[in-house]
């Protein structure tokens, strides 16, 4: 490799960008399909995929294992605590939702 270490060629980023745009298109398309309760799952799944592309390529997580991975992931991991443990309340609380 002639390029400076740890960098990817511009072409890769352009392709990744095209994929991102394509995924956005799909996401918008699904909104009109009437998927009901599955729509948010699909749309947020696509958003998560796009975020992964951004994190791994554009934010250069690609490469050997590093501490960056831990911190990149720990925010999402910690959110699971908030979402998961709150769920124990909201899923079983009497009288929620109010009204």
């Amino acid at each position: 490799m002639k390029r400076a270490a740890g960098r990817d060629p511009a072409l890769l980023f352009v392709v990744a960008w095209l994929v991102l745009v394509l995924l956005t298109g799909i996401s918008i398309w699904t909104a009109f399909l009437g998927l009901g309760v599955f729509a948010p799952a699909v749309q947020f799944g696509i958003a998560a995929t796009q975020a992964a592309i951004l994190f791994i390529l554009f934010m250069r997580l690609k490469g050997p294992p590093s501490l960056k991975w831990v911190f990149a992931g720990s925010g999402f991991f910690w959110l699971l605590f908030l979402y998961g443990l709150s769920f124990t309340d909201y899923a079983t609380r009497q009288g929620w939702p109010h009204r």
Binding site: F81, L85, T88, D89, A91, T92, R93
Partner: protein, 545 residues
């Protein structure tokens, strides 16, 4: 004495004298002292409110207007939690000693460190604005919908102060995490880190992961307060308990933000003054890290009676029992660390032993509160007040003062007066218990917190508590005087007056600007004390008799 007013050698503090050299410094040691000045001011602001409250509660009729009393306990809570206890040990002792204990020349991001101090003071000014304009009467927990739709006080400004304060927490925590990861001296492996460093590391992780949730919560609170429409509004189908969920997602770990660094400090003190290695180093580190993580699983134990699902409450109660286990391990290890030691009862050790006892009482009553059925009874009574003061004030402040005395010679190059310090340490312990133990009884009798009046039959306990508070006030004020005195007239201290093993003791007292003449090389773990021979080995591998 002949040692009076001896000039100190060139060091971080006397190298430059201009005001600008302090206000624009990037030296972590100077920033630690800047923080020390700020939090001391807030400690006495919060303490002033506490004094007024205890004076008021000495009689059932009281002496303050109800509106004033409500503002006093809110101010006491907000100031003490965010402006004293949370920053106390990390920003002062942590800031000063973390780089030195890992053999670094500074923190990773000195500018961010300084910015943290400015942001802290900015948030303090916003809070003071709220107080001067008329105060806040919601309690430090800002429960909705009272805080958003009903209170006629400066909730918006106070919420903004808390929000801005969070940036300071995050900046400090981020700095510590990155520094401990990246700037350890050669040979300073993770298992050679002193427990104080582990304490600060774990607490920094908690600061980083808890604070943003509170920040978002206060933003939503401020929005609802400002425009009168918001996500916690029950009239629009909002859930007032959502505020509590997100608030306690931060504020329960916040209690551990206060106690984890204190645990670190006390581990240093006990090892040094018992002259033996701390018992179960690995267990201590695992306990601290698991407390840091488990602290996020227990928040809804503040909401057992708030109307959450009973099944959820059972889950949170179980989690709370689990978090008690590492705390119990730590108490056990500290106690066993005295076994076959060569115990010296200097002031820091008295503070440390006081810490262990107060922490144990606080922890055990916490266990009672984790028991669901007991919590239903004593929730939001003085039992809870007493419990968390034992942890947050009794334990944390004892550790803070203990650490301050222990490292005082290193920070200033001078000894504090030992007899006065011992007296203050004992007085703290006595005064504290006298203040808060009666509150356990009051709580079980059913005295609700945040009440400006109470039935006359409870006066005896309240008078006892107020009497204790006056003793405690003296005990907390004393160090201000004798430590100040020692700055000028204190006996000169050498590099390692206590014969301690940490890297910070291998450089001169006070340390030079760059901490170490050259980067130290670490040869072995902390606490290489030998009680049998009375010798010790500092972490750079030098044996001392």
């Amino acid at each position: 004495m002949s040692s009076v007013a001896v000039e100190l050698p060139p060091n971080y503090a006397n190298e430059e004298h201009t005001i600008g050299s302090w206000l624009l410094t990037r030296d972590h040691k100077r920033i630690a002292l800047l923080f020390f000045a700020s939090i001391t001011v807030f400690f006495f602001v919060g303490g002033f409110a506490a004094t007024l409250m205890r004076l008021h509660l000495a009689t059932p009729q009281g002496l303050l207007q109800p509106s004033v009393y409500n503002r006093m306990f809110t101010m006491h809570g907000v100031v003490m939690v965010w402006f004293f206890l949370i920053p106390s040990i990390p920003t002062t002792l942590g800031n000063f000693f973390i780089p030195m204990m890992i053999g670094a020349h500074d923190l990773a991001f000195p500018r961010i460190n300084l910015a943290s101090w400015y942001v802290f003071n900015l948030s303090g000014l916003v809070l003071l604005y709220a107080l001067v304009m008329g105060g806040v009467d919601t309690g430090w927990t800002f429960y909705t919908p009272f805080s958003t739709l009903y209170s006629n006080s400066y909730v918006f400004a106070a919420a903004m102060a808390v929000f801005i304060n969070g940036f300071s927490s995050i900046m400090t925590g981020l700095n510590f995490v990155v520094t401990i990861h990246r700037l350890r001296a050669p040979g300073m492996t993770w298992v050679r880190l002193p427990l104080f460093v582990w304490g600060i590391y774990s607490v920094s992780l908690v600061m980083l992961t808890a604070t943003p949730v509170l920040a978002m919560d206060t933003v939503l609170l401020a929005v609802e307060r400002f425009i009168g429409v918001g996500l916690f509004d029950p009239r629009r189908g909002g859930d007032p308990l959502l505020w509590q969920h997100m608030f306690w997602f931060y504020s329960h770990p916040a209690v551990y933000i206060m106690i984890l660094p204190a645990m670190g400090v006390v581990s240093e003190l006990i090892a040094c003054y018992a002259r033996r290695p701390i018992f179960g180093y690995a267990g201590m580190t695992i306990a601290m890290m698991s407390i840091a993580i488990l602290s996020f699983f227990v928040w809804a134990h503040h909401m057992f009676v708030a109307g959450i699902s009973i099944y959820s409450a059972v889950v949170f109660s179980l989690m709370t029992y689990f978090v008690a286990v590492p705390s119990a391990i730590k108490v056990f290890n500290w106690t066993v660390s005295l076994h076959k030691g060569r115990i010296i009862f200097d002031a820091p050790m008295i503070y440390a032993l006081g810490f262990v006892l107060l922490f144990t009482i606080g922890g055990l009553t916490g266990l009672m509160l984790a028991t669901l059925a007991i919590d239903v009874d004593v929730h939001a009574t003085y039992f809870v007040i007493a419990h968390f003061h034992y942890i947050m004030v009794g334990a944390t402040v004892s550790a803070f003062f203990g650490g301050l005395h222990y490292w005082w010679p290193k920070m200033t190059g001078r000894f504090y007066p030992e007899m006065w310090a011992r007296f203050a340490a004992i007085l703290t312990f006595v005064g504290f218990n006298l203040t808060f133990f009666p509150q356990f009884i009051l709580g079980y009798l059913g005295m609700p917190r945040r009440s400006y009046t109470y039935p006359p039959e409870w006066q005896a306990w309240n008078v006892l508590s107020s009497a204790g508070a006056s003793i405690l006030a003296v005990a907390y004020l004393l160090p201000l005087f004798y430590l100040g005195w020692s700055l000028v007239w204190g006996r000169r201290a050498g590099p390692n007056p206590w014969g301690a093993t940490g890297l910070e003791w291998t450089t001169s007292s006070p340390p030079p600007k760059e901490n170490f003449e050259r980067t130290p090389v670490v040869k072995l773990g902390p606490y290489s004390y030998d009680p049998e021979r009375g010798s010790y080995i500092t972490q750079d591998g030098v044996r001392h008799a």
